[in-house]
Subunit: 143 residues, 2 copies
DNA sequence: CTGGATCCTTGAGGATACTG
DNA sequence: CAGTATCCTCAAGGATCCAG
């Protein structure tokens, strides 16, 4: 999703009738499609996973995050952090000092997300070569 | 990535110097960031995973895919299939008949991708409720 | 039926300036 | 230092038409 500049959004959060089965509740194909889209819109944006990843080792302040994430803009970091906080994946602790200090930390939920994500990363890292080769072959074939 | 309407693109495919370690080769933080972005730009678009998912059970024709994926446009299906084919995740078999028939199937690589993806889906499905709750709490808190 | 090509809308996301 | 608001750009992606 990656929130629009304004609105709270609230898109299809209609899990209602389905009991909490591990995968594909209600047996319909489209429900799994919804789940896939859900998870993708949550962590599939440009920065969320990188933030989660950085916070996996321990809490960090806003500026530390900004420096360590390379390329992220001030605006997108705030926005990404708000989203993650809203989804309960990251916690925010503000110390009323001068100058202000704010620490962000991954919640248990956030850390639990890191696991399956790591699976994906491993896959990517392990099959990077195959993909590159496939691309080269494909591009070569379409002379 | 989700290719632009034209260009072959070829962005940062510079794995060169790194030996093929399973995760985080070369030990630098930014290299893992690159991997994450790589995998996201490959499967993190709106449709790729859904196509991979549909093809996991067996080959399907273009129109079958379009009907089963709900919401995908003609244009995006072609585009997504081209990308997946280029990356070696999907194979395309065209039967020179009239009317033409084209079958798409997941390759071994494509099926291997489905595994870690399933992990993510399970996570999403298992923690959907927690996230929804977190959101409600968050939205309620900011009166 | 499959697959381009073209047009057009929308929103993600960067740059920047301003507040506490 | 942390956060918000405004402006602007550019590409993702839908609709549609044409071709083999």
């Amino acid at each position: 999703m990656t929130i629009t500049d304004a609105a709270p959004a609230r898109l299809g959060d209609d899990v209602g009738a389905c009991s909490s089965a591990p995968v594909d509740p209600c047996g319909s194909e489209s429900s799994e499609a919804r789940i896939i889209r859900d998870v993708l819109s949550r962590v599939g944006d440009k920065w969320s996973l990188l933030v989660i990843r950085m916070l996996h080792n321990g809490p960090l302040r806003f500026t530390q995050l900004q420096r360590s994430i390379d390329g992220i803009s001030h605006r997108m970091l705030t926005q990404t952090l708000r989203n993650l906080e809203r989804d309960g994946l990251v916690s925010r602790t503000s110390y009323p000092e001068i100058p202000p200090r704010v620490e962000y930390a991954a919640t248990d939920l956030g850390r639990s997300l890191a696991l399956p994500v790591l699976g994906l990363v491993e896959w990517a890292s392990g099959n990077h070569a195959s993909i590159t080769d496939a691309r080269d072959a494909f591009d070569a074939a379409r002379d």
